[in-house]
Symmetry: C2
Subunit: 341 residues, 2 copies
């Protein structure tokens, strides 16, 4: 609904108009959410920007999104640089679209707090699916969040889910902690490998075996793909981690650039999803994920309250006593906590 801006000249005639107009648009959260839920790409993008920026408006956004926030199946893709994550993501998007499903893609870069490359990445990725309104693709940095991606990603997932995505693919570089975090956010985690990268050993080292629900050996038309698959199979047989809970981690060979093997990956994702549902693990994983998220937000709320105390000088007073040696840091922390509650 258009409202008259009483007493103001139209935005375009004032130099500060753009900033003001942007700020005003941010305030109409219900409208923005309604448009995102209707599948409007720009509204979805704007909501995810709010997530990236840790906007105070998120509180209202998440309140409105809650009923539809858990719809999407979340699939994580991880692996070392060069294994073909983006290509595989593209192939999976195409496969899901052929099945008539709406797909979201979150390309997450945990190494870059100010991911200037994200925009370029978006443009490159968009080429195949730019004109398809059944696909939302977004690169994401976590510049605003204290909790980093472990907090920003679930919120972005809520947005994409509420926008009607049936599947969201979360693509991340496989680098230690971040990869484990992403795995904890996904319903199903794909670990990608490729020949000629010493990945077998890398996998064993990096604990990749622990997070994989499905292994994908990409670039399977290259020499060494069979060796990678065999090494994986051997390591899986040693660990045999899923025997006790009934899921045997499959190994699928693909040539993502040609779309070869992608349908089998989709089948294995579906199979794993069904297993999660049948065993009650989907609910368990999601409750665990929500608990982590709620805890992270609660800690931020408390941190903000401490920050407010910092502004009021209470923390500085305590800290000065600690420096003077008249108070120890634990006693000071107790006083701080007591003043919060």
């Amino acid at each position: 609904m258009w409202r008259r801006r009483t007493g103001r000249r139209p935005a375009r005639h004032r130099p500060q108009g753009l900033a003001l107009a942007t700020a005003r648009r941010a305030l109409d959260v219900p409208d923005l959410v309604a448009r995102a839920e209707a599948g409007e790409a720009r509204a979805v993008a704007r909501l995810i920007s709010l997530v990236e920026d840790a906007s105070p408006a998120l509180r209202e956004v998440m309140g409105l999104l809650a009923p539809r926030a858990g719809h999407a199946r979340v699939v994580g893709l991880t692996g070392s640089p060069g294994v073909g994550k983006s290509t595989s993501t593209n192939a999976l998007v195409a496969a899901y679209r052929r099945r008539g499903m709406k797909v979201g893609v979150l390309a997450v870069d945990p190494s870059s707090p100010f991911s200037g490359g994200a925009l370029l990445g978006d443009r490159v990725r968009m080429q195949d699916h730019a004109t398809d309104d059944g696909v939302f693709i977004r690169s994401m940095a976590s510049r605003g969040h204290l909790g980093g991606l472990s907090w920003a990603t679930p919120q972005a997932l809520r947005v994409l889910s509420a926008a009607g995505c049936d599947v969201v693919l979360v693509e991340t570089v496989g680098v230690g902690q971040a990869e484990v975090e992403i795995a904890s956010l996904a319903d199903t985690t794909l670990v990608l490998l490729a020949p000629g990268m010493g990945d077998g050993i890398q996998a064993a080292k990096a604990g990749i075996l622990e997070v994989a629900d499905v292994f994908v050996v990409n670039k399977a038309d290259r020499d060494g793909a069979d060796t990678v698959a065999r090494d994986l199979r051997y390591m899986l047989s040693l660990g045999d981690r899923r025997t006790d809970d009934g899921w045997r981690v499959p190994i699928v060979k693909t040539v993502a650039a040609k779309g070869e093997g992608t349908d089998e990956v989709v089948e294995q994702i579906e199979k794993h999803g069904q297993w999660l549902v049948d065993t009650g693990r989907l609910e368990q994983r999601r409750v665990k994920r929500a608990a982590d998220e709620v805890e992270a937000i609660a800690l931020t709320v408390l941190r903000d309250r401490i920050g407010d105390l910092g502004g009021s000088g209470a923390l500085a007073t305590l800290a000065a006593q600690v420096v003077a040696g008249t108070l120890d840091p634990y006693a000071a922390a107790d006083e701080l906590v007591a003043s919060l509650t």
Copy 2:
């Protein structure tokens, strides 16, 4: 003081004796602290182990240490692997000992949560100063702490300070975040570079310029040392960051293995220390540091309380509502916070 263990056989005759004896010793915190304050190396080591393990006894330890916890001047040493940090640390220890000062060394390895290498490192380092009771040397990992080194290091500093150290050298590998954390803990931060490592460019990239109070170009007898120094000087002239607050970052050339230049490094540390005192910045830095520490402890206290709620099932109940879409994560976090307070 020896006390009779009534009704128990001596520890050595029972298989579980050692563990029990260890636990019992851990409980006599006042005795341990008194011995550490008297400079007994084993008591100091034991207190720092409590810090590493995030022992619950720390609360009592820090209470007892508080009056003497701020005595030491804290000097951070950072730089890429191979620039000679350990050698430089050793040379500085010797220089301070010649001046009759008591020295502590904390070698911090932020990359390793379970630093198995720490012990070996200790032995290697100890060789020069093993028989000197004016030197405490300790490698430290931060395996227990949620807040990692940003929390463990200041507590270890308190211990060394209370043990009578006049100077504590905190040595850490220069890797991004950790290095910035260490710099925020030190009164004076030395950044070490060496020729032939492309360090000039590395320095500019890694924000090393921002954290250095003194630059040390080590291995100055090698080719390229002058180039490193010149590049640094040029970059400093570009940034010129300290002009506004009156401290010009000096560049000192050393050959730490031969002890060359070390006295000048000590002089520059003293000079910077005096500048910190004169400008009131020493107090400012220490209050800021204490405030961060108190805040980190307060957050952990609150996190523990949330954890207790998790155990009681309250968090799981909220999380299940979030998954069901009947509650959004912010509202759930508010309920969680409200139940804490």
